[in-house]
């Protein structure tokens, strides 16, 4: 039985408090009127003219700052704390969802090796409930026009008589409209959480069943299989809705898998961190180096898969150079170049080099470092998917971004640890528990890390 230590509890609360405070800070420091924006920009220009010593350029730039532009900048600045919140919320939701996917795979594949990790997966994916609720509220806030991350929600864009009329968005309005959008979110979250609760329920039933009675296990198998079909569709449509529609003119057919591969790698990386943490606290005695090694193999494979999808998209755009497609990368190269390439290095080059060696993947500290880098890398990936569409060039990585990330980390820790402490750490009664306890990959020799 795991005991949620007071120390960890405090830590998680502190993190959540940091998140809330930094979010408040973000909202307070956001300019609320066009005048504020103009003042700010003049300020910037003043700085600029001082060091360039040319008054003329400053005047020119000021001319450029006409009313419409300032208003546009204001929208982007107002989006910033919301976007920071949204990216972090979505990122941790994806971690929980990726974990649920992985758990369902274990049931469908009737995998033996991973049984000792099942309860950890159950606890991690339980974050779907609070995380899903928060994401839903953010989407709802968008629907009520509190923020403009999804700028297609602006009704004037689909009004043929409005000067803002946008025929492309109008053409998509059968799918991209607020009621249907929110309805879909409810369906996705409802389906995922439903599957999660059922699998957890059967897992407990199996624990309490007599030896040889595997009815609950078989039910979990069935639920997992149905969930997988549901997930196959909803993970794609979900990523269109929640990520791709931030750039509503643009679309990509492989986007769903791209988002999925990133989410899956982050989920595995987080799983490694949770498992190693529990082991250092003396729990999960039956988890051995071979289990971590397997998670490492998945991390390696799916990092390459992520790169494959990333590159498949990138190289075709680069080659064909079609205006409506390349805008996506132009926006990213114009203002996010360094972050963009850093992210590619962290998510591809780094795991390629670090995880290639077979033996190393079974060392705990090694895997922890790798996991942390991959989590940050995939957070940045999501950041660069959302931000260009919502705040454009007015991004920076500051208090709000880091703060909200930490806040959700706190919530995730609390939710996971709290769940772990409620039930036994090992899925007792699982028909393949013995196999998992004896799991051993042939070339792992070392006893200690």
């Amino acid at each position: 039985m795991y005991i949620f230590s007071q120390k960890l509890k405090t830590l998680s609360f502190v993190l959540m408090a940091v998140g809330i405070l930094s979010l408040a800070f973000g909202f307070i420091t956001t300019p609320s009127t066009v005048e504020d924006v103009n003042n700010q920009m003049e300020h910037v220009d003043a700085d600029h003219s001082e060091d360039s010593d040319s008054h003329e350029t400053a005047v020119k730039i000021n001319d450029h700052h006409d009313e419409a532009h300032a208003e546009h900048v204001l929208t982007q600045l107002k989006n910033r704390p919301w976007s920071a919140l949204y990216v972090s919320a979505l990122f941790f939701l994806f971690i929980a969802l990726g974990t649920l996917f992985f758990m369902a795979i274990q049931y469908i594949g009737q995998a033996g090796w991973s049984v000792v990790l099942l309860r950890v997966m159950e606890a991690m994916s339980t974050y779907l409930i609070p995380g899903g609720l928060i994401v839903f509220l953010i989407l709802l806030a968008g629907g009520l026009h509190f923020h403009h991350i999804f700028h297609w929600m602006d009704a004037s864009l689909i009004d043929p008589n409005s000067p803002n009329f946008d025929p492309i968005i109008e053409g998509k309005s059968g799918y991209l409209n607020v009621p249907f959008f929110l309805l879909r979110a409810v369906v996705y979250l409802g389906g995922w959480i439903g599957a999660l609760l059922l699998i957890k329920k059967y897992s407990i039933e199996q624990e309490n069943a007599e030896v040889g009675n595997n009815i609950a296990y078989n039910k979990a198998f069935k639920v997992s299989a149905i969930f997988m079909v549901f997930f196959g569709v909803t993970s794609s449509t979900g990523s269109w809705d929640w990520v791709m529609s931030v750039d509503p003119h643009w679309f990509s057919t492989l986007f769903g898998w791209y988002v999925f591969s990133g989410m899956f790698v982050s989920a595995l990386a987080m799983m490694v961190l949770v498992v190693v943490y529990l082991k250092t606290k003396g729990y999960l005695q039956t988890v051995n180096h071979s289990h971590i090694h397997d998670l490492g193999k998945f991390m390696f494979g799916f990092s390459i898969f992520w790169t494959y999808l990333w590159f498949s998209q990138f190289v075709l755009y680069w080659y064909a150079n079609i205006p409506e497609e390349v805008t996506y990368y132009i926006a990213r190269f114009a203002d996010y170049k360094v972050a963009f390439w850093t992210m590619v290095v962290m998510n591809f080059v780094f795991p390629l080099i670090v995880l290639m060696d077979s033996g190393k993947k079974s060392y705990y500290p090694y895997m922890v470092v790798t996991g942390v880098v991959l989590i940050i890398g995939h957070y940045m990936d999501l950041f660069i998917m959302i931000m260009p569409g919502s705040v454009g060039s007015h991004w920076y990585f500051g208090v709000v971004e880091i703060g909200t990330f930490l806040g959700f980390l706190g919530l995730f820790i609390f939710c996971t640890a709290n769940n772990l402490s409620k039930r036994s750490l090992i899925a007792k009664g699982h028909p393949m528990l013995k196999e998992s306890e004896h799991y051993h990959y042939y070339n792992i020799e070392h006893e200690d890390h």
């Binding site: 590159f311 990138f314 190289v315 680069w318 080659y319 290639m356 077979s358 042939y442 070339n443």
Partner: protein, 372 residues
């Protein structure tokens, strides 16, 4: 005392494993174990060193990776610069994204093939090598431990029997006597001849159409239900599937060019055709960029006729734009030549739009003024 060959036969892999451990515990080295399937942990129990095939694979991959870099550089940049789809040619780095698939494939190709080859040679499994399996039963359901022993074997025999061997045999090794092979391959030379003969025969295809395959899977994939783009179509105009555009129409963005591709047309363009676009820095800059993609492989970056293809002697007869070499050209004639081509130079009308061609003409004139 002569060397002896000891064989211990087992009928179960678990018993074999404990046998191996028992023998090794007594400090006796096992020379080989033959099994019908891989027995996990056997290599460790026998005290074999871990395989280094992984490091070999890594090195093969690196070789393939660099080979691909060299290959793409030599083929696409150095030897015969290619302009595909108007991508910036002539530096490897700028074209690198399109070479990544090749680098990837070559890495995998080298790794896989060289690794398999290494594995086969290391295990003496190349064509013509004699099989060394001493007992055919080990390809079915038996396991065999093999020892070459100097001196007394009774101790070893006892251990093998104790640990569950169903059969223990001891044989003297006579130096000249070849290992008793359970199958005899033809001599090496014969097998080489057979392989060459096979390859040779397979290349003798006849002009007759191939026999119909016995069964066709998914015939729709072989025989298109729809008419193919350039096939005959009884319903089409002129019985062809591909149609010519409606008379009097042009494609979007296309600007017609009326002067014909004749000597008179050339003269006409030379004398009377004037550029309709502004001659300014912006247009010249754009023209230079396009020139550097489409023209420098032949004409060279200065327009001196010394492009890479000329230097590599792949393409000859490219003139310098210098007035001493081409006294009679004007922006009109340059436009005309880009549009229609001239002798060995092909038409670029399908790759460059009307205004792009004008911009390039501007750049050519600029190069011409700089050439002596």
């Amino acid at each position: 005392m002569s060397k002896k060959l000891v064989h211990g036969l087992f009928d179960d892999d678990d018993i074999l494993m404990s046998g191996v451990k028992a023998v090794r515990q007594k400090g006796i080295d096992i020379d080989e174990v033959y099994t019908p399937f891989p027995v996990h942990g056997l290599d460790k129990a026998m005290g074999l060193k871990p395989t280094r095939i992984a490091s070999a694979a890594f090195i093969f991959g690196i070789i393939g990776f660099f080979f691909a870099i060299w290959l793409t550089w030599f083929m696409m940049i150095e030897d015969w610069p290619q302009n595909i789809g108007g991508k910036p040619s002539f530096t490897w780095l700028e074209n690198m994204p399109s070479f990544i698939p090749i680098m990837f494939e070559m890495t995998i190709f080298f790794t896989a093939h060289l690794m398999v080859t290494t594995y086969f040679f290391k295990n003496k499994l190349y064509p013509g090598s004699a099989g060394i399996n001493p007992d055919p039963r080990t390809t079915d359901d038996k396991f065999l431990m093999e020892f070459f022993v100097d001196g007394d074997t009774s101790n070893l025999e006892a251990i093998l029997k104790d640990s569950g061997a169903i059969e223990v045999t001891v044989k003297d090794i006579v130096e000249e006597e070849k290992r008793n092979l359970w199958f005899k391959l033809p001599p090496k030379s014969a097998s080489v001849v057979v392989i060459l003969l096979g390859l040779g025969l397979s290349s003798c295809s006849s002009d007759e159409p191939m026999r119909e395959p016995v069964s066709v899977y998914m015939p729709d994939m072989y025989h298109s239900v729809a008419y193919e783009p350039y096939s005959e179509d009884p319903n089409g105009i002129n019985s062809m599937e591909a149609r010519t555009p409606v008379d009097g129409t042009i494609k979007r963005g296309y600007v017609p060019y009326d002067i014909p591709n004749t000597n008179e047309g050339y003269q006409e363009a030379l004398m009377n055709l004037k550029s309709p676009i502004a001659s300014n820095d912006e247009n010249a800059k754009y023209g230079e960029e396009l020139y550097n993609i489409y023209c420098i492989s032949c004409h060279g970056i200065n327009g001196d006729g010394q492009g890479k293809l000329v230097q590599n002697e792949k393409f000859l007869g490219v003139p310098s734009y210098a007035a001493s070499r081409l006294p009679n050209i004007s922006e009109g004639s340059i436009f005309h030549v880009i549009t229609y081509g001239k002798n060995m130079m092909g038409s670029h009308a399908s790759q460059l739009t009307w205004d792009e061609r004008w911009k390039i003409s501007q750049h050519v004139l600029k190069l011409r003024s700089q050439l002596k």
